[in-house]
Symmetry: C2
């Protein structure tokens, strides 16, 4: 039994470099001693190196020792040697502000995991000091790279420190050339949303856009116009309104909308559509018969469960996270500018086929 002897002692019984038992830090060396082989051999076995051929008998002995001792490799030591860890950092400006951020984390985590990486996350709540600390920490932990993400799609500045690592912007972009980024394809999303209505026979389609400037605002409008154009419907500026992009905004826009004499409306987002539902219902109007409604975002708690369930377009947050990781790892080629991720339309009962106009 590995009892101690003082370093200079004459009887060099088996060395005991550390406490014999405490809470499982069994080391490679201990395994090696137990198996009667060298640490190199154990390392080879643990890492299943194809190159090195270990006698089957030896391998078994090592494996047994590993099992009986309950050996756990020390990832820190491993990283120290290799110089880079199996971490990917995710800096988010609002993990909780919205259900969306969770999806980015989820996608990033799944994809990272698939490639043997773990996710190190930091929430900065738009506090730039926190952000700096977070990035610094990630750098110190030698992350493979950093995903810098925002909870809503927007342009962003690149924090200086971020440049010390490989990084990819997620759900945001920069005008600096050469920056890798992945963002939702707002234009395509807007097109898809409008097409749901067009496909169901509507020609006069109102669009309630957001009041606040954002890539989404421009993109979703552009998509709307494209879809109309492709369908040979003239764009009528009078059919485009604006409201604050939440339930109250949608509700408040009801009266204006009804003045337009339309039977189909595409809302900037689901929350707006939700408010609009209330506004229409209050006036005894029915969806989709009196008004076909399409939203944007596919916010789960809302869209799928309104009455009637809302047709909308998904904001692909999960995919953004996953694509961010793939881009970082060089699996997805980086697009120039930003990679645009597809926003899949989701058709539900808030739109019903009409007789063609």
């Amino acid at each position: 039994m590995s009892t101690e002897n003082t370093p200079g002692g004459p009887a060099p019984a088996a060395r005991t470099p550390r406490m014999p038992d405490r809470a499982h830090p069994v080391t490679l060396r201990e395994v090696a001693e137990a198996a009667g082989v060298s640490t190199a051999t154990v390392s080879l076995v643990v890492n299943k190196k194809k190159s090195a051929r270990i006698a089957e008998e030896t391998r078994q002995r090592v494996k047994d020792a590993i099992r009986t001792l309950g050996y756990r490799p020390n990832a820190m030591a491993k990283t120290l040697v290799s110089g880079t860890s199996k971490f990917i950092g995710l800096v988010a400006d609002g993990v909780a502000t919205t259900p969306f951020a969770g999806q980015i984390i989820h996608g990033a985590q799944d994809e990272a995991w698939k490639h043997g990486y773990a996710l190190l996350i930091a929430n900065t709540e738009a506090n730039s000091e926190l952000e700096q600390d977070a990035i610094r920490m990630m750098l110190e932990y030698k992350v493979r790279g950093i995903l810098y993400s925002t909870w809503f799609h927007r342009q962003t500045d690149i924090p200086e420190q971020l440049r010390e690592a490989e990084f990819v912007l997620v759900n945001c972009f920069s005008d600096e050339p050469g920056t890798r980024a992945v963002v939702p394809d707002e234009v395509q999303g807007g097109r898809s949303a409008t097409e749901i209505l067009l496909r169901n026979g509507h020609r006069r389609i109102a669009f309630i856009n957001a009041t606040i400037p954002a890539p989404a605002k421009d993109g979703r409008l552009a998509g709307y116009r494209q879809a109309l154009e492709d369908a040979g419907v003239a764009f009528d500026p009078a059919l485009v309104m604006e409201a604050y992009p939440d339930q109250e905004g949608g509700y408040g826009a009801t009266a204006e909308l009804l003045k337009r004499d339309v039977a189909a409306v595409y809302c900037y987002n689901d929350r707006m559509a939700m408010g609009l539902y209330d506004g229409l219902r209050e006036r005894g109007l029915s969806i989709p018969d009196d008004m076909a409604v399409v939203g944007f975002d596919n916010q789960e708690v809302i869209a799928a469960h309104l009455r009637p369930p809302l047709s909308t377009v998904s904001l692909p947050h999960y995919e953004l996270g996953a694509a961010g990781v793939r881009t970082l790892l060089g699996i997805d080629a980086a697009a120039e500018g930003a990679a645009k991720i597809h926003c899949p339309p989701v058709e539900r009962a808030s739109v019903r086929a009409q007789a063609r106009a």
Copy 2:
């Protein structure tokens, strides 16, 4: 310049132990050399050790070297020496299934950060193999401890591997004695929800509970009964109904509810209340005049933005995450059984004061 010469070698050309420049891995030693001091000194300066007194002049020299070289400590090496990292692991069974999980992450991350820890997260989506891998990875990275969390409040089994680390259950609990856990106080929440109605003059209060068994189902009912009892209102089993806990469930329960001849209802959750809103509205009933409604969960996208905004009780997910970290770090004393986190009531316009019965 402290150039080396190889121990036996005749030609002592300056040693180049590593690539001279590539992407910033400046080491402590390089700083030491640049500043003309030993690595120990640099270490002392970097870590602001109060004990060791360094000449101000030396300290400056070191700091300058650090700055000009752009030195970044290697956290891995640091961890290797100290034996335990500054990581806290968070294992979650559904990061994205619900907006809630995001809040747990958020709370855990903020609190961990406050104490100098970073969050390592893993999403297991209820896949036990993934879960094992996740825990193993965390163990290998020598996390300080692991938060094991579930997206809805429930009993859970403790994965074997988890026992190798310090851990705290978050939003779940185990019947094993001595297990540390933090969960929402469903009973108090149910009491608070009911009290909102009582306080506003209602005596006959219906409760639409969930059909699916869960601590929340029992707890919220118990709270309801407590509140009634405290108010001297006899419990009437006929006023307790059950429905599937989502929008459709709430909507579908409308007819039943109206048969009860009540003017106040407390719903198991906000989604149910949302469905109930639709059901009531369809029948031309108004909230809160014809029916006062209270929910549970305080799901942001819903509760605050229904018309009228919904009175409800918050599920304290952020607090759960934060409390989990505090418990893990021994800052909060561990309660026996599970620590119950308060669920704060949120009063909104879906309830209005009534004449006393």
